[in-house]
Every structure is written in structure tokens, then in C-alpha cells.
Symmetry: C2
């Protein structure tokens, strides 16, 4: 199923595939540094993340510090896409985002907000801020909730951790607001990364640790979806009720080696 | 529709019907003090609240201070019911409840938690505590989320405010856990209050400001559900897609006067 069509390019999730987050910068997942090196040498690769608690620059710096060699321009994160959507639609967001990323949104008009833009705000998901966002959605007819990603949780070094999707679900429950996801599994987000590879979607694979956003999301639009047993991966997902990955590998290195070794033989 | 059967007793919601909450104790809603007085004189009344940020004693003290004259034993809140459920089922809850109510749970074993018990924790809905609750539900198979009430929001003097249901929705989204509501609209919770009145459910009315929990919940089990246009009431609920109250009055006093005046005429 995985190798019945050639694999000419790779879309890689970052958190849980390249590294696990922690309070002091994170830890590279065994073999991932070498896997990325091999991908740059022998194939094509872009990094497609729902990460919204780091700017692209932060993420690049962090990965470089951990030992990864990659090009900053190959990293896709939702923040620039979100800024673009806000500007094009004349939206003035209430920003419920991580304090480290606030500067990225400096150009946006946030006076008298008419929508909510939410990222993985971590400790900034306070009752006070959640209420401020709630009131905007309740009191402004047709105001919309935008979330950068919609994950249920992600893996930190200290264990699984609630992701932005949970806090989005809270606001939706209380307001019945409209909701748009900026990031995976949104089709246009995946396709921007595929286009960057100058390949067709049938020619690439998506490798991630989120069975719904990464694997299911990719499969839904015709991209092969592969799972790693790292990051937030849970044993019960081997028999997930909704998503069956095209392949499950122990980690990124194993999957990359299998595919590239096979390519060489053909 | 409202008066085609005699009304022999009243179930009253508290917050938004008797008073609106605020940071300094709350404000009585106009006419409610007199309405309660008249109900005690001319009919039967119990108070059925989903309030979990105050103990019954706090709530009684607060209402008394605001000028209400009522019996403490006529107040139903979810905390004693929750404690009873925990004990009967040998559950050791992770408590995500308001700091002012923590003492009420002193008797419970909370070591090595095997479920989550959540109330309206207000400022204690921190990212850290939400994550602790999340991990228990994710990592303990069959562990259940109990919420005291399941409201979307309630009215404070400073505006609408997220209720416990929102934070429950967040945990459900991320864990797919089982969920039990302790409080309205749970049938057994309503019926305990009806039984206290020594009446049949067809003989009582429920008056509340929550169209789903109070009005819809009562109607679902055969109790007439009446709405006040106070508290969290929203104009768009005059044509709510799911719930049509048996009567909508401007406030508690108006409804009580109409029913009791009618009773006298008959």
C-alpha cells in the first residue's frame, strides 16, 4: 500500500516527529537528525507543523540548536497564514496566542475585535482570557473562531499536554460559533506544502504523530499518511476506529530508511 | 398551556433568577425578594441550583444578606450529591473545583485519582489544572468526567461568563471520556426536588434563566418549564431552535404574581 507508487517527496510534521517539547527547549527524537540529513541528500522534504507557540524563526533556531540541518524556508507554520487571512478579510482578531509569538501579530488591527484567533497559548489559557474571547464570540453576530491547528493534545517531555483544539471546543460549546482551522488538516494548508515540493500529491507522503490531523487529514485529500510511534502516539491507535495509516514505523528514521532504501533498489 | 393544570409548587433556579453574581456578593434581581416571600406564604417552593462555586451554606448566607428569607434546607446544590456519588462508587476524584468549596470535599479520598470532578472553578481553570485533569482521563481507561452542572455560561454583573460545561467540553474533545452531569438537566436531580415538595411533577413548574438546563431539562421529564428574561436570558431565545418555554415572563415576580393571582381566582 505504501510503496505501490513511488515516493518522490516528504511532508514531515515537526513536534513529536523531529523532537519532543519540554520547558527547556526540547529533545531530539533518536535518529531524526540523521533522517532529515538523508532526506535533504536523497529526496525532497518540507516541514509542515501546526506549531503556534513558536514563530517560524524560533522553531528554526530551536531545531538548529538541537542539531538539525534544514532550511528555514522549508518550514510551514500557521502563523503567517493566519496573518494573511486576517488582513485579506479585514478582520480584527482578539489574540489568544502564546506570549512568545505576540510580536508576530504586531501589524494586525486588534482594536474592537470582530473575531478570535487562537493558538497554543499554554499558560495564557487563563479563565480571564477565555472569557474575553467568549464574550466577543457571543456578542458579535457572525464572529468566527479561528484556531491555528485543532489538535486534541501533543507530547511534551513531561507527558501529554492539552492542545489548542480543546480550548476551541470550550468556546464552541458555549457560543455555537463558526470555526475555521488554520493548519492541518485543512486541505489548502497541505497543498501549499505539496506545491512547494513541485510534486503531485500522489508522489508524496505525510509523516506525523497525530493520527487525525496528520495521517487522516493527508489521506482525506489523497496524500499517503504514515504514522510514527513517537511523540503523542498511543498504542490504541494501532486499531484506530477512523484512521488506518498507510504505514506505521517506530520512528522517522525507520520510515525514511525503508522508503529511501527501496527507492535505490528500484 | 401554562395554566391548564394547577400549579401547586415551584422549583426555582437561583443564579439569574433570584440574583446576579458579581465579585462582591451579587445583586438581587428586582422583585425577587418579594416573589420568594409570596411563594413561602401562598404556595410551596424549593430552590434548585447548579451552583458549584458556593457551598449551600455560602449560598444561603449570601441570599440572606441580599434580603431573601428562605430555609437553608430548601436549597439544592450539586456538591452534596457529588460527594454521595463519589463515596457510593468508591471514586477518588481529581478535584477541579472553586477554592471556596474545597473544604466541602475533605472527606473524600483524592489520592491516586481515578476520575475527575469538576465544578465552576472560575480562576482555578488554569492551564496547569486543566492538564492535570486531562492526564487522568487520558491515562486511566474507563475514568469518567463528572461535572456539577453543564452550563454553557451564566450571567455575572460584569457580563456573561463561561460556565463549567465549556471546560468539560474541552476535556471531552481531547480524551473522548465518558461524562456524567451532576445537577440539572439530570432527571434524578430534578425529581429529588419535586419529591421534597411532596407533589407530582405535573403539579409543579420550574422557573429558570437557562433555556437548555432549566427549561428544556424540566420539560423533557414532564415538568412545565418557564423562562425569565433576567440573568443570562438572551433575546434570540424567544425563538430558540430546540426549546419553547411554557411561559416567558420578564422576571420572577411577574411569573409568580400571574400564577398565584390566577390560583386565587379559581
Amino acid at each position: 500500500m505504501l510503496l505501490n507508487k513511488p515516493v518522490k517527496g516528504f511532508l514531515l510534521d515537526i513536534t513529536g516527529v523531529l523532537y519532543n517539547t519540554s520547558n527547556n527547549g526540547g529533545v531530539a527524537i533518536e535518529g531524526s537528525i540523521e533522517a532529515v540529513q538523508r532526506l535533504y541528500k536523497e529526496s525532497k522534504v518540507v516541514f509542515i507543523s501546526n506549531e503556534s507557540s513558536n514563530t517560524r524563526q524560533h522553531l528554526f533556531d530551536k531545531l538548529t540548536k538541537l542539531g538539525f540541518q534544514l532550511n528555514k524556508n522549508d518550514i510551514y507554520t500557521p502563523i503567517p497564514v493566519a496573518i494573511d487571512i486576517m488582513k485579506k478579510n479585514h478582520l480584527r482578531p482578539y489574540l489568544l496566542v502564546h506570549k512568545d509569538c505576540l510580536d508576530d501579530f504586531n501589524d494586525l488591527d486588534t482594536t474592537n475585535p470582530n473575531c478570535v484567533l487562537m493558538g497554543d497559548a499554554e499558560n495564557d489559557f487563563t479563565f480571564k482570557k477565555m472569557n474575553e474571547a467568549f464574550k466577543i464570540l457571543l456578542n458579535n453576530k457572525n464572529s468566527k473562531l479561528f484556531t491555528m491547528g485543532n489538535g486534541k493534545f501533543y507530547q511534551r517531555e513531561d507527558g501529554p499536554c492539552l492542545d489548542v483544539g480543546a480550548f476551541g471546543a470550550a468556546l464552541k460549546y458555549s457560543t455555537n460559533c463558526e470555526h475555521e482551522v488554520i493548519g492541518k488538516p485543512n486541505e489548502s494548508y497541505f497543498m501549499a506544502a505539496v506545491d512547494k515540493l513541485k510534486l503531485k500529491k500522489e508522489e508524496v507522503v505525510m509523516i506525523g504523530d497525530d493520527i487525525v490531523s496528520d495521517v487522516g487529514g493527508a489521506q482525506k485529500i489523497g496524500i499517503r499518511g504514515l504514522s510514527v510511534r513517537t511523540g503523542k502516539w498511543r498504542p490504541e491507535w494501532e486499531n484506530h476506529p477512523d484512521v488506518r495509516p498507510d504505514f506505521i514505523g517506530n520512528n522517522l528514521k525507520e520510515i525514511v530508511d525503508i522508503i529511501l532504501d527501496y527507492n535505490h533498489k528500484c
